[in-house]
């Protein structure tokens, strides 16, 4: 396929994947939180309430898109895209099957770690341009949090890179062995926790802490721009779960062929569901506790994990 046509096809496929993932993410969040809280969750709109999310999306599109009078209008309108696009870009390097990823690049893992974290700039822009004290505080918190959790997350993924000897996700999947699982289990826990923090989800949802900052950096957003913030959160949830399932746990290799892909999706769904479960069970941390967890707990653990893997690798 020529470059442009191929790009178009992959772009469309990626768009559909992220839209579907977001829809399933929102639906799962509503259903799981409903069960956690002894409610039913949506059930009137279509089978199992599946049409609730399209209905919500339609509602958001039809709602008025308000720009506050005091806001820096151009930055304010632009910020949601700066949040969403990097998150969506992170999805393209995920190996969906053995030997196939939308974008097969030799620095895929670096790309996955680096590009989605650009969205913190969008959060800062959105919070700052709103000219709202809550949003400003939320934006600052978001930036501080995402930068802090970048480190343990990257370090934990490095263990896998070291074991596989490659930054190319498809190579990692090829090199994946079952005995890696016990070896990198702690690293996976670090990856899991710091992913939740990267996504600004509970118990680390301090940038949008509704009981303190109303909605944090997107307090002043309405309509579809607010929806784009939501979409990027769920897009990030889907991406982090898929990456964890494929690259970390190698779920695609657990069963041969197409069955492997099914297992991969199921494991990713399990990771995403548990993240939702945690959000609805735990209270929220305080910003300083959050930073302490990142720098004094997760980073040393990830470093020890990396050191252990580093000792093992030469013996392979």
């Amino acid at each position: 396929m020529s470059g442009f046509l191929g790009g178009l096809v992959f772009g469309l496929a990626g768009g559909i994947t992220i839209a579907l993932g977001t829809i399933m993410g929102v639906w799962a969040e509503r259903k799981i939180s409903g069960r956690v809280q002894m409610r039913l969750g949506p059930q009137e709109q279509g089978p199992f309430g599946l049409l609730q999310v399209p209905a919500d999306t339609l509602k958001m599109m039809l709602k008025e898109d308000i720009t506050p009078r005091n806001a820096d209008a151009r930055v304010f309108r632009f910020a949601p895209y700066v949040v969403f696009v990097p998150v969506a870009m992170g999805l393209v390097v995920i190996p969906f099957a053995v030997g196939w990823a939308p974008l097969d690049t030799s620095i895929g893992i670096l790309f996955f770690l680096a590009v989605p974290s650009l969205s913190s700039i969008g959060m800062l822009l959105g919070g700052w341009s709103s000219r709202n004290t809550y949003a400003t505080l939320g934006g600052m918190r978001a930036a501080a949090q995402m930068i802090s959790y970048e480190l343990p997350r990257t370090l934990s993924v490095l263990s896998i890179v070291l074991l596989a000897g490659s930054l190319r996700p498809l190579d990692v999947l090829d090199a994946w062995r079952v005995w890696w699982l016990p070896l990198i289990f702690v690293g996976f826990i670090v990856y899991y926790i710091s992913s939740v923090a990267e996504l600004n989800r509970g118990p680390f949802d301090i940038p949008e802490a509704e009981s303190e900052l109303v909605a944090g950096y997107f307090a002043d957003y309405s309509g579809i721009r607010w929806g784009i913030f939501m979409m990027s959160e769920y897009g990030g949830l889907v991406a982090a779960s898929l990456f964890g399932s494929a690259v970390f746990l190698g779920a695609t290799r657990w069963l041969p062929g197409a069955l492997g892909v099914i297992v991969f999706v199921l494991v990713a769904a399990l990771i995403a569901s548990s993240m939702i479960w945690i959000k609805w069970t735990f209270p929220r941390m305080r910003p300083d506790q959050l930073m302490r967890t990142a720098w004094k707990v997760l980073t040393p653990i990830a470093l020890v994990q990396l050191a252990v893997v580093g000792v093992v690798v030469p013996w392979l």
Binding site: S33, V36, Q37, M38, R39, N70, R131, N132, T133, Y134, T136, L137, G202, P203, D205, I206, A209, E210, S211, E212, L213, V214, A219, W280, T281, F282, P283, R284, M285, R286, P287, D288, Q289
Partner: protein, 381 residues
């Protein structure tokens, strides 16, 4: 809701960086102000340097309105003071009027009053625990606590037809006798409630994040608690063993065996835990009262609807879910009170907010406010 930056002033930091203090206007309509409270918060980064509560957004002039109503017509107004615990203001007011007009109350009515007030204490504490959990982000704990409150509200609905403003305790007794089988349903409730309480204890107070959020936050010393006039779980969380049910043993409370839980650290965690343990004690009181309750009338016979006490004044107080609730009634002899004054515990407890929140972060401010459990109907009156 306007959130504009009201003023910025230079703050001298220890380092050479130029800093600016940011003024955040929290409220009057904000998710964690538990009503309509406005707090003007000065923050240096995330740290609160000054928190100033602005009250009065729910002022309806209830004390003044009382002067234009007959003694019986005042009771529904007292419902609207502490709308999370309407029974308390009902009862405190009725006690003052009964003292003023020398009205005797049948024993069964006293038992019913104790039962509904202890149920109200559980309902109110469930509201307090649930909403302070929601303040820290534990959304499900909020639902669980409200589920327990709903059971009580249903029982109240059976008893007097209302779910929030009961108008149940009246001078000379209570409005309705307990319906058929009500005490049995009460027993079922207390049995189930103990299980729910231990579940909530493990889910929330046992959680490492919740402990980290609440321990050492908003520490109130016992001396300060006394000198600022704090009462209820706010004072007891600091280790002040002060409970009017024990120390003024009004009504039929001396006949029941119960303990007064107290904390030791005086932080948000101890205040929250005190409320939780009080629910266990309330269950004990309800069970004993339901077992001992005698048969008989629930209203004094021959009491005029137009109570006209002799000139004079009377003060009485009870232990509400928030602390010592006092009512002072002055009569000039007519069918209407000359003056009614409420001593609201939530008002006194709220006064502690600037002291407790200072030096903590903005996130802790909502925890401190939640642990004081103010109800603004009672603060603003």
């Amino acid at each position: 809701m306007t959130m504009e930056v009201e003023s910025r002033r230079e703050v001298s930091g220890e380092d050479d960086l130029a800093r600016q203090e940011l003024v955040v206007n929290v409220g009057p309509s904000h998710p964690s102000t538990h009503g309509v409270c406005r707090v003007i918060v000065h923050v240096d980064g995330e740290v609160v340097t000054k928190a100033e509560p602005v009250i009065g957004y729910l002022h309806r002039g209830i004390e003044k309105m009382c002067e234009n109503r007959t003694y019986l017509q005042v009771v529904p107004l007292t419902d609207r003071l502490d709308y999370v615990g309407s029974m308390y203001a009902n009862w405190a007011y009725c006690r003052a009027v009964e003292r003023l007009a020398s009205i005797r109350v049948p024993e069964r009515a006293e038992y019913l009053r104790v039962i509904v007030c202890e149920m109200q204490r559980i309902a109110s504490h469930m509201m307090a625990l649930g909403s302070s959990a929601a303040d820290t982000g534990a959304a499900s704990m909020f639902i669980y606590a409200f589920d327990e409150r709903e059971r009580i509200v249903e029982l109240f609905e059976e008893l007097c037809g209302a779910r929030l403003t009961y108008n149940y305790v009246r001078p000379g007794g209570v409005s309705f006798d307990a319906p058929e089988g009500w005490t049995d349903r009460l027993k079922d409730f207390t049995n189930n409630h103990r299980t729910a309480l231990s579940e909530m204890d493990r889910l929330f107070f046992g959680n490492v994040i919740a402990r980290g959020r609440m321990k050492g936050i908003g520490v109130l010393s016992a001396e300060d608690a006394v000198s600022w006039g704090a009462s209820g779980p706010v004072a007891r969380g600091s280790g002040v063993n002060w409970d009017l049910r024990k120390h003024d043993s009004y009504s039929v409370y001396p006949r029941f065996d119960f303990d007064v839980p107290t904390g030791s650290n005086g932080d948000a965690y101890d205040r929250g835990r005190c409320r939780l343990f009080e629910c266990y004690e309330s269950c004990r009181i309800i069970e004993q009262a339901a077992a001992q309750m005698p048969e008989g009338p629930v209203k004094t016979d021959g009491l005029s609807r137009l109570i006209s006490p002799r000139p004079g004044d009377a003060y009485d107080h009870i232990e509400s879910a928030r602390g010592s609730l006092g009512v002072y009634v002055v009569s000039e002899g007519g069918p209407r009170p000359y003056r009614v004054k409420f001593r609201s515990p939530a008002f006194c407890n709220l006064a502690l907010l600037p002291m407790l929140a200072e030096g903590h972060t903005l996130s802790d401010l909502v925890v401190v406010l939640g642990s004081l459990d103010p109800v603004f109907g009672e603060v603003d009156r």
